[in-house]
């Protein structure tokens, strides 16, 4: 029972980070192979606050999210200016992910490569579920607002978006900051759930897994990536595949999804849309 609980909790924590990346990739159309670093910033910032400074958990959690958002500004401001090119950012974030790991491994306060052990395990499933629900709600509101609509317009056609009064730079930057904020929140929850964090937990491998969940779940969808990320965490556990086969199972899932649903599980639609369509279809017949 405890085991199932912890798997579900971990899956829900991961879903928050995937949700964050989905704003940036699925809705704004920019790719990132470095978002795990933002999860790491949130994890380390909040853990350091509770571990060394006895800051209350909730405040540390929020601070971690804001720290991730602030770091994303540092990368985003110089790289997202390029008008119609997003490769500058993609390369910069890739480099940042590596640099971040090296920094963590060499700082004293992070305890280097050995990682921070003995972080208080404040995170419980109810807390995670509340945080997840809050994140989904915020994301949904964002996407309905002028800001989210501007993101989607940029994904669809940057030139036409500009001609609709959308500022490319500020919109892309906002999208990045919000996505990093959610990743940071996820990191804080993760640190205080596992009680132990280590630089290798926030590298290219994890970034790729986040991106895979967004793409397999479907671009332009909230529910799709959430479902995919849940699947990616829970299925290997449920099948109780040995550790060495886990990546294989994971890869196999990806391949199957890409063969049978190349647009992702829920590409450009949401779970409620499916039901609505079914109802209206049966209504006209």
């Amino acid at each position: 029972m405890d085991y199932i609980l912890s798997v579900v909790t971990l899956a829900a924590i991961n879903m928050i980070a995937v949700l964050g990346l989905s704003i940036f990739t699925g809705f704004t159309g920019l790719f990132s192979f470095g978002h795990a670093a933002f999860v790491g910033v949130g994890a380390y910032a909040s853990a350091i606050l509770t571990y060394y400074y006895y800051v209350p958990f909730f405040i540390a959690l929020v601070a971690g999210a804001f720290a991730a958002a602030a770091v994303s500004l540092i990368i985003g401001v110089p790289t997202l200016r390029a008008k119609l090119r997003s490769d500058y950012f993609a390369i910069a974030i890739l480099g940042f992910g590596e640099a971040f790991r090296v920094i963590l491994e060499n700082l004293e306060i992070t305890n280097g490569a050995r990682g921070l052990p003995g972080i208080d395990s404040f995170t419980t499933l109810p807390i995670v579920l509340v945080a997840l629900a809050f994140s989904v709600w915020i994301t949904r509101n964002f996407l309905k607002s002028r800001y989210g609509v501007a993101c989607i317009a940029i994904r669809e056609d940057p030139v036409a978006a500009e001609m609709s009064g959308v500022g490319l730079f500020r919109t892309r930057l906002l999208s990045l900051v919000l996505s990093a904020f959610l990743c940071g929140l996820s990191g804080g929850l993760m640190a205080h759930f596992l009680s132990f964090i280590q630089p290798v937990m926030f590298t290219l491998v994890q970034s790729t897994q986040l991106l895979a969940a967004v793409i397999a779940g479907g671009m332009g969808s909230i529910t799709g990536p959430l479902f995919a990320s849940f699947l990616f965490i829970v299925l290997p556990e449920a099948l109780r595949v040995a550790n060495m086969w886990r990546l294989v199972a994971y890869g196999l899932m990806l391949v199957l999804i890409m063969i049978y649903r190349p647009q992702g599980i829920m590409g450009y639609q949401e779970l409620p849309d499916l039901f609505r369509r079914k109802i209206s279809r049966s209504g006209t017949k």
Partner: protein, 278 residues
């Protein structure tokens, strides 16, 4: 009549190609001004310069007397210039209503805080914008497609949707790049009516690029004729149509009806520029 938009000695080079060549012309407030010219004359480039997609190599662009050179496209949109595209550019996976709501939302203030928490203010904004967008779809006669994805619309209606979206930014000056491209004569006539109605109802000045001569001749005045990036002639449609140089450079080449012989000047110009391009 006051000049809404003025271009002075506008020049744009792409590497060795001079796409626009010291063009001086203007759009009067309240007019429907036409731009015609053979393929590659630089018409679309003029639109790209006005809307800030490209920066002019030299020259000035004044909107209501103030320079807009160097402004970002979204800033220029905010100052009241919007456009449609020669190759339709819609937000394809969005519904028609969402397409039109996008520029409207950008013009409606709503703080990020209010947006994230979806406060009553944010909800009110959403409602009013939705209603406004719907009324624009009605004005274009495509309200029955409000919930259809933009990419699923037939070609002609996509053009209308693009006009609706351009109007949603509440422009003073609307730039239409070949709105009748790919339409049959009957569709073109109804589009001409639509443009005339938009011009009157939305109190907007229009600058229009078109190859359909009948459309230009019916609703545009004055008409600007471009050839090889430069101004060839400007005047009322009947004046322009009678202009020898225009017949030679544009109509002659297009229709290939023997007018070339009657306009040696135009042919000469063509050779000179063709040489310069190489």
């Amino acid at each position: 009549m006051a000049h809404l938009l003025e271009m002075e000695n506008l020049t744009k080079d792409f590497g060795g190609i001079r796409a626009v060549d010291s063009l001086t012309c203007c759009v009067d407030e309240g007019s429907i001004t036409g731009i015609i010219g053979p393929n590659g004359a630089g018409k679309t480039t003029v639109f790209n310069l006005i809307t800030g997609v490209y920066r002019p190599t030299t020259g000035a662009i004044l909107l209501e007397g103030a320079s807009i050179v160097g402004d970002r496209p979204d800033v220029i949109v905010g100052k009241g210039v919007t456009r449609t595209f020669q190759n339709i550019r819609l937000f394809n996976r969005q519904t028609c209503l969402e397409n039109v709501m996008t520029p409207l939302l950008q013009r409606t203030p709503c703080s990020l805080f209010s947006a994230l928490l979806r406060t009553p203010h944010a909800r009110r904004v959403d409602r009013t914008v939705r209603a406004k967008a719907m009324s624009l779809l009605v004005a274009m006669g495509i309200e029955s497609y409000a919930d259809a994805k933009a990419s699923t619309l037939p070609y002609g209606l996509q053009r209308k949707l693009e006009i609706a979206r351009a109007l949603a930014a509440e422009p003073k000056l609307l730039l239409l790049d070949e709105p009748a491209a790919g339409m049959n004569p009957e569709e073109t006539r109804s589009l001409a009516d639509l443009i005339a109605r938009v011009h009157a109802d939305f109190n907007v000045s229009i600058l229009l690029i078109e190859h359909h001569m009948d459309l230009v001749m019916n609703i545009c005045s004055p008409v600007i004729v471009m050839n090889f990036g430069a101004l060839l002639a400007v005047g009322r449609p009947d004046e322009v149509r009678a202009d020898e140089r225009v017949i030679g450079a544009y109509l002659g080449r297009k229709k290939r009806d023997g007018n070339k012989a009657a306009a040696p000047e135009g042919a000469e110009g063509e050779d000179r520029h063709a040489g310069a391009r190489r």
